[in-house]
Amino acid sequence: MKNGINTEFASHVSLLPSLAWKNLSEQDRILKVESVMKGFTNSEVIQVKKAYSDGQVTISLNNAMNASERGSFLLDFEELLKDNLDNGITIWHEAIGDKNSLRNLRGIEVVSIEEAL
C-alpha cells in the first residue's frame, strides 16, 4: 500500500514567504496570524509571540497538550496559515531550556530565533 513517505519533493525548492509577507511590519504579520487563528479549533490555547519576515512564526500553547495531541494540532494550524496567509509560513513553539540542574551550571541557553537573527 502506498501510504508511506512521499519522495517526489527531493529536488523541490524549500518554501519561502512571499515579498508581500516580508514587507509587512511584524505587528501586521502578528495581526494577520491572529485573525486567521480565530477560525481555528481551540484557538484560545495559542499565543502568537513573534512573526518574522522569513516566515517563522513563534507561538506558545497555554495549556499542556500531551505529545500525541500537540504535533497534529500545530501542523493543522500551520496548514491553515499556509492556506490563508502565505505558503512560506512555518510554526515553531517557544523553546524550553534544559531542566537538568547539573548541566544548567554550564550556563548554556537555547538561543531563540530572534537572538540568532
Partner: protein, 379 residues
C-alpha cells in the same frame, strides 16, 4: 562502498552508513510503503551526572519528562520486535546506565533478538554492570572528552580539580576491556571524543589514551549545534585541526584503531540535503518518553513534530498512527529544510545523505555484496 576500518573483531564502519545491507527496507520505502525503522536510538532517562560542554541534550528539553519504568521498556521492546526494529542504541539525550530499567532493558532486548549498543560516560558502569550486560551487547562506547585527567574533568564535570571522575571512568573502561578479553566476548569497545575547536590540544592525548586502554577503537567526531548556534560552534575552525587529526589516525595499531569522522567534520555543519529521509530508517526516542522523528526535534520548539509518548501509549500504536506518518512526511516535504530548520548533522546524517542521493539519482544505493560489517543493524 562505505568507508571502514578493520578491527580484530571484523570490519567497522563509523564514518558512513550501512543502509546498503537493508535493501528490503529501502525498496519498500521507495515504493511508498510504510516501513519500520531498522534502528532506534533512545535513552532510558534524560538525567545525567555529567555536565559535558558539548552536550546536545542541553537543547533537547521537551514540554514534560515522563518517568520510564521497567514495564514501559519491556512493552517497548516487544513492540520493536513486532514491527521489525533490529537494533537499539542507548545514546540519545540521557545517561541510560542511571536508569533502574537499564539492565532489564538489555537482557530483554537480547531475549527478543534485538541488537543493543550503548554510549555512556562509564561512571556508573562498574564490574557488576559490565558482567551483566556485556555478553548481550553489540557495542559499548565510552564518552571520553579528553586524554588528560584535568581537561577531562574540566570538559565533562565541574572543573579540572575533579579528576576523580576520570579515574572512575578509566577504572571501569579497563575492567570492561579485561572482561571482554577474558570471556572472548564479541562486543566492540570504543571511546569517543566530541571535538569542539577549543579541545584541539587533547586530540593526540585522547588517541594515546585509546591505545593505553586497549579498546577496539577511539573515534573523534564533530560537535553538533542547533540551527541558532546555542553552543556557538565555529565549524570553520575544524580545518585548522586536520593535520592533528591525521596524526591521531596514524597512531592506529592492530589492536586499537583511531578513527576520525571526516565526513561530518568536512561538511562544516551544513548537509547536502533539504529533505530529511533518515528518520524513517533510524528513529529517535527521548529519555523523556517522547517519540519524535529525530533528536533534533525533542525540544518544545519543534512541538509540531512531536508524535507521542511511549509511557502513555504503546509504541506500536504510535508507529501505526497517522500522525507518525504525517510527521515523517512533513520533514520530507518542501515545507521543511534540513539546512536551516534543525541542528547540524544529526545521527541520521549518513543515512539521510545516502537516501537523498538515491532519490535524486546522483548516487544509487545498491545491495551490498560483501560480508556484513560489524553492527550492521545500527545504521
Amino acid at each position: 562502498m562505505s568507508e571502514s576500518v578493520m578491527t580484530n573483531d571484523g570490519e567497522l564502519i563509523l564514518d558512513s552508513h550501512k543502509i546498503s545491507y537493508h535493501m528490503d527496507r529501502v525498496n519498500a520505502w521507495e515504493a511508498g510503503e510504510r516501513i519500520a525503522p531498522v534502528t532506534v536510538d533512545m535513552a532510558l532517562t534524560r538525567a545525567c551526572g555529567s555536565m559535558c560542554k558539548f552536550c546536545y541534550a542541553m537543547m533537547q528539553e521537551p514540554q514534560k519528562r515522563h518517568g520510564i519504568k521497567t514495564d514501559h521498556i519491556l512493552n517497548l521492546l516487544d513492540d520493536f520486535s513486532e514491527v521489525g526494529v533490529k537494533g537499539v542504541s542507548l545514546v540519545s539525550d540521557g545517561e541510560s546506565t542511571l536508569s533502574k530499567a537499564y539492565v532489564p532493558f538489555i537482557e530483554h532486548a537480547a531475549k527478543n533478538g534485538i541488537n543493543i549498543g550503548n554510549a555512556t560516560n562509564g561512571w556508573e558502569f562498574g564490574p557488576e554492570k559490565s558482567e551483566r550486560v556485556l555478553p548481550h551487547m553489540s557495542w559499548l562506547r565510552f564518552t571520553v572528552a579528553a586524554g588528560t585527567p584535568g581537561r577531562y574533568a574540566e570538559i565533562m564535570y565541574k572543573g579540572s580539580e575533579h579528576t576523580e571522575v576520570f579515574d572512575k571512568a578509566m577504572k571501569n573502561i579497563r575492567y570492561a576491556v579485561h572482561y571482554k578479553k577474558k570471556h572472548n566476548l564479541s562486543v566492540t569497545l570504543g571511546i569517543q571524543m566530541v571535538l569542539m575547536p577549543e579541545f584541539k590540544d587533547e586530540i593526540i592525548p585522547f588517541a594515546k589514551l585509546g591505545l593505553d586502554l586497549g579498546v577496539d577503537y577511539a573515534v573523534i567526531k564533530h560537535c553538533s549545534d542547533d540551527e541558532n548556534q546555542s553552543l556557538g560552534i565555529d565549524y570553520d575552525q575544524y580545518e585548522s585541526m586536520y593535520s592533528l587529526l591525521e596524526a591521531a589516525e596514524a597512531m592506529s595499531t592492530e589492536k586499537t584503531k583511531i578513527v576520525v569522522k571526516w565526513d561530518k567534520i568536512k561538511d562544516k555543519g551544513k548537509p547536502s540535503y533539504e529533505r530529511f529521509y533518515g528518520p524513517a530508517f533510524l528513529l529517535q526516542i527521548s529519555g523523556s518518553g517522547l517519540v519524535a522523528p529525530s533528536g533534533m526535534f525533542f525540544n518544545a520548539r519543534y512541538s509540531k513534530l512531536h508524535i507521542g509518548d511511549f509511557t502513555s501509549n504503546r509504541f506500536i500504536d504510535i508507529f501505526k498512527s497517522e500522525r507518525y506518518w504525517r510527521a515523517m512526511n512533513y520533514i520530507a516535504s518542501p515545507a521543511f529544510n534540513a539546512q536551516t530548520m534543525m541542528g547540524t548533522l544529526p545521527i541520521q546524517h549518513y543515512v539521510s545523505t545516502a537516501l537523498d542521493d538515491h532519490i535524486k539519482g546522483t548516487k544509487k544505493i545498491v545491495q551490498a555484496q560483501d560480508k556484513e560489517p560489524l553492527h550492521v543493524n545500527f545504521l
